[in-house]
Symmetry: C2
Subunit: 390 residues, 2 copies
């Protein structure tokens, strides 16, 4: 159903992100604390911890960080045990699931101010084999059983898309090149190094047609947001949620009608656009879930930036470059900013918040008034789309 806010618009009024890193020197709880304290301090007119009545934590796996029952931990850190709290998980869409729920619970008037905390410390798992097993827990049981991790499933999706529409491995490489270049302007990004199409094409296949440089990395990171149903109380320039939707598809890629689409994202975008009253033509920047390069190209189509089967032409033509007419992932995206799973969606929202407030520094998209976040779980069995305006 479409949500009609009952108590005015919900706004983001504060945000903080740790740098995303391959291996944070901080312990998981220290990363959480840094993000929470940073978000509180970022609120211009100030917010007392006692004004926060809702805490939602986002974390993918407790094996990545070694913490459970983190909502009361956050409540303990801010010294307000009267807030109501819990953790949510929806694979890689955990972060925006938290924002989605906060939006519903604030809109209904149950709570006034929500603290959202996303984190993942993937480096706590020693080996990539073990990390891969934890990532595979998101696959449908039938896919898990045949040993298909994310990357193999995304490879299936890529192969199907490329066969059908004529996209080339070079097109996928262009996404990686663009997002790495964008990340050089983002001090929070894990990678700070430009790469070339040749670098991508020469990187080893991890599951053909996908290569190492088509994939986002394992990351450590924590992000916190403050959302309010009375945003003007906390800042003169809140960033409002004007549309939000969560949609699902079959867990198994093999079960889906069209393996080369991310149907949940298409549906979520349609609903979020309808709720906001405008479409992609009015939106100035997009932060989307490029866990693998192929996902960003398909998302151009799902979000209505390109016709079906023509998404790869946008990256060829530079439309989605930082200097293009529709910048996608000016932050560097999951690909180059990093992908600390539970933090990822929260971090995308933080990025749009800073962009719409003109606080994005070297990566600032000029005159950005509206922004969109698309964050999905696994290969797209959950997608959350949020439209923001200042």
């Amino acid at each position: 159903m479409t949500l009609t806010p009952q108590n005015g618009r919900i706004g983001v009024v504060g945000a903080y992100s740790t740098k995303y890193e391959a291996r944070s020197q901080k312990e998981t709880h220290e990363m959480i604390r840094e993000a929470v304290e940073g978000a509180l301090k970022s609120v211009e007119k100030g917010i007392s911890p006692q004004e926060i009545d809702l805490i939602i934590v986002s974390n993918y796996s407790d094996s990545f960080g070694g913490l459970l029952h983190t909502a009361p931990l956050v409540a303990s850190y801010i010294g307000n045990l009267n807030a109501t709290g819990f953790r949510v998980e929806n694979a890689c869409a955990a972060g925006t699931t938290a924002v989605y729920l906060a939006h519903k619970l604030l809109s209904a008037g149950f709570f006034k101010n929500a603290l959202i905390v996303g984190f993942e410390k993937m480096s706590t798992v020693g080996t990539s084999a073990k990390s891969n097993e934890i990532l595979m827990r998101t696959s449908a049981p039938e896919e898990y059983k045949v040993g298909a991790p994310f990357l193999s499933l995304y490879a299936l999706i890529a192969r199907e898309y490329m066969n059908r529409y004529g996209a080339k491995e070079e097109d996928l490489a262009l996404v990686a090149v663009k997002n790495h270049e964008n990340a050089t302007r983002n001090p929070l990004a894990q990678f700070q190094k430009k790469i070339t199409v040749e670098d991508v094409l020469k990187s080893p296949y991890i599951s053909p047609p996908l290569k190492l440089f088509d994939a986002s990395p394992l990351s450590d990171g924590a992000v916190a947001l403050l959302m309010s149903s009375e945003p003007k109380k906390y800042t003169d320039t809140p960033v409002y949620i004007s549309g939000i939707a969560m949609k699902h598809d079959y867990s198994g890629v093999y079960q889906r009608k069209d393996m080369s689409a991310i149907e949940a994202a298409r549906q979520a975008a349609q609903e979020a656009y309808k709720m906001s009253g405008y479409g992609p033509e009015k939106i100035d920047l997009f932060e989307v879930h490029d866990a693998f390069t192929i996902a960003e190209i398909i998302l151009y189509e799902m979000l209505g930036l390109a016709q079906r089967g023509e998404g790869y032409k946008l990256i060829r033509d530079g439309v989605t470059a930082f200097t293009g007419s529709k910048p996608v992932n000016p932050s560097g995206g999951l690909k180059a900013k990093g992908h600390p799973i539970g933090a990822t969606g929260v971090g995308m929202v933080a990025e749009v918040y800073w962009q719409l407030r003109g606080e994005a520094g070297a990566r600032q998209v000029k005159d950005a008034e509206r922004g969109l976040v698309e964050n999905h779980g696994g290969t797209g069995a959950t997608s959350v789309v949020i439209v923001f305006e200042r």
Copy 2:
């Protein structure tokens, strides 16, 4: 804040539980599927999967069962991808956190019918050392660091309570004896064997004053519930939620004002009683979180069944026995029915549902009209209290 339902009362209209076992022969996803299909079939007037618009899954750790992103998996199983879904975690209170959120989201009118699924397959972790490490992730980081698992923290709580109020190890043993006896009447219970006070006192210390028989077991189990804002559409005898609250305390036991209390449960009970309009004197049965025997005794006091410091007298006097005036844990409780963490709170609600409908078989509490669930996370940093009436 106290919730005022906007669309009439929310009712439970269906429930199913697998048997709780030390080691289920089914795989995790098969256990989930059994619970979901059983709950759907249990709805007297029938419910179509297409009528379910909200799915909330409860699971403690993805290491116990090996599955993540389970809401779209459940949506795939029921063949309704239009439902909105996510997983919640609040340590051992995950199950009632799911019920709490469903109650809020249904009350606000965002959704009409919720499917709640709780599961845990603890036997997927091979060793008790590894299981213990996963359980410790709920402890505050400072407590984790000194290697304090649940049982040591509960031992601290027990020692403090016994020193202060004069309860004896025999009193704790009486809780285990009662709950084991109750479980013999429950075909879903993991243990089906009566034990004596002597059995408990002779069992080995795991963390003095607590012995092996003071502790709930590791369990496999899955439970599903259907909740509706139009309950009469699905059954003539729904069980209504008349009061519900979630409260928190400091993550660390060492940080709490009174280590011998479970303060979050006291506050949650007060709020739930206030919302329902009546107190413990009007309630016919109680399912409470006896992860360790000491917890049940302290909860007698937190829930207002006994004065502070006098809870242990209730177990001595048989007040909370199956045949007593205030039966507590007629199901056998976590102690003897079992404790598959993510399923536990959902299973407590299922038990009260069956009791208030007169469907509890040999363990039926006569003329039960009102029931209460108290489910807490860890050593009580989260507590959810729900009051039900038929």
